[in-house]
Amino acid sequence: MLTIPETSWLVVLPTLIVVGTGLLILLVDLWSEGPDRDGLGWLGIAGLVVTGIASVALWNTHEVSFSGGMAVDRFALFFNLLFCLGGILALLMSMNYLENTDIRVGDYYSLTVFSISGMVMMAAATDLIVFFLALEVMSIAIYALSGIWRRQLRANEAALKYFISGAFATGFLLFGIALIYGATGATDFATVQEKLAAAPPELRGMATAGMALLLVGFGFKVAAVPFHFWAPDVYEGAPTSITALMAVGVKAAAFASFARVFTDALGPLMPEWREVVAALALLTMVVGNFLAVLQQNIKRMLAYSSIAHAGYLMVGLVAVNDGGGAAVLFYLLAYTLMNLGAFAVVIAVGRRGQPNEQIDDYAGLGFRYPGLGAAMSIFMLSLAGFPPLVGFAGKLYIFSAAVHAGYVKLAVLGVLSSVVSVYYYLGVLAKMYMAEGTTLLDSPSSRPYLFACLLIAAAGTVLVGVFPSSAYELARQSFAALG
């Protein structure tokens, strides 16, 4: 008779809540009509809050189930909290952003929540196939979301480019998974690791080939140089709230599985991948930061900045066993707060039919809208890595881990490249405070959700920056769950 594998509801609980929220939004959308649809956004936020509460409640659970397919552990739960935070902020800013577009809100919110469900599954996946399908759930939702503003030619184009590059990356990821399956006969991380540790040279060679292809696939997903070319176009063309979700959620999810796959399943291949990832990290930091300097459009500038940040995060992965893992988790938290904040400012500066996305449009905003100026200053300084903001603490942890692991040159070059980044981040502030401009904005009181979002992000950026140790301790505990 058939033996049904053990199933644990706890393992899939966060996923189920998020997917259920998405379904609920779809159903409610079906039966609710009228222009005021903020309710659907609130529904999404409520679902994410419940997911967050469930994740906190599960904090001490450590369980793998579904034939080794999915796990609930602190690593997954940390990312759940991160995705909930990022998702809530993204939904908050969407609620005001959508007023200025003709996007159908029901589709938008349900797809957003479904993409978050994919992220949640990615962080918890302990099987290459589960990971791959979770990635596809997330990606397909984001493909559709980036083209959801159909009247916008730029959004069409962004969707097309994101789709083609994403599908291309899918091919590489899958071929890598197939070769690893061929080398080990398994797809769950535990067995793969076990088999690889004792693999004869020809199987190790095949797994190395698979690892290289996986690396290409991940490179596309996190927009690492030289697989980054799609990112600026897509970031610029997609609706800004989706760009924010892409820059933060997709990247965090990709790094969650990057860390999980490469340290857990492919841990025995670390000698093979370490130097390659280090080289990619260096290239990504340098190219990202230098190209960002040239940008006139704020969304493109943030795209290149997010490429550079992917480079910093990869430095953390190189030093994964010397505190780099925890540093990556902490940095992702920092990045979520400050980057979402920056995108919220971009949305706040835009008006209906007048996106105001050129950096020149920011001229003089600092004096005329002091609150917005202060918020933008916090985010830009934090992204540039000024103390005592959270970006500084994040960089400190990452580069000290790299030094600790013996990658001193990499750390030095990373710090130098981030000095370049100061130039373009401060360039925005210089424009805001030192130039005269005429850009008019909608009053903040008419956009309460955006205001709340800015407030949360700014407070987080400052508070976690000033008191980083407890957040770092959380990240450390979470990463410890992996090994």
Partner: protein
């Protein structure tokens, strides 16, 4: 399967795959892809994957490729005059094939890993279903979310009326 049959099938597969990327006209590309998929299905039958081979025909050639052709015809795409030249494509294909195959051969080495004769019932519907519904139960369930997302996404993007 004997080596001769394998070589012949492999040549058919690679030939029609080259047709996909070399054909100037999208419909011809699509038909070459259909042929590639069909020959792959035949190869799957030789690999004792009857169920997979049949589903390859039903799902890939019977549904996905028809969707492709439908869209090509709906948009009435013709031969694109600004298409890159066939020699560029062909040399890129040659180079990349050599790269991938060479790299794999270098890493894997020349190992004659001939499989054992297949067990009874291997590749049958029952055995595949057991793997799918027991060991791969979770991925199977995730595909339901995946398809729902794809349906919503496709409808959102392609439906004619905008509010």
């Amino acid at each position: 399967m004997s080596l001769g049959v394998f070589v012949v099938l492999a040549l058919f597969i690679l030939g029609s795959a080259l047709g996909v990327i070399l054909a100037r006209n999208p419909v011809r590309s699509a038909m070459c892809l259909v042929m590639t998929l069909f020959f792959l299905a035949v190869l799957y039958l030789f690999l004792d994957a009857h169920m997979v081979g049949t589903l390859q025909v039903i799902v890939y050639t019977g549904a996905i490729m028809v969707l492709f052709l439908f869209v090509i015809m709906l948009l009435n795409l013709q031969t694109d005059p600004e298409e890159s030249s066939a020699t560029t494509t062909l040399s890129a294909a040659g180079g990349l094939c050599a790269l991938f195959v060479g790299l794999l051969m270098y890493l894997v080495g020349n190992v004659e890993n001939v499989p054992e004769p297949a067990r009874d019932g291997f590749g049958s519907i029952q055995s595949v279903a057991e793997a799918l519904f027991l060991r791969l139960m979770l991925p199977f369930e995730i595909t339901s979310v995946l398809m729902l997302v794809a349906i919503i996404g496709a409808v959102v993007l392609a439906k004619r009326k905008i509010q």
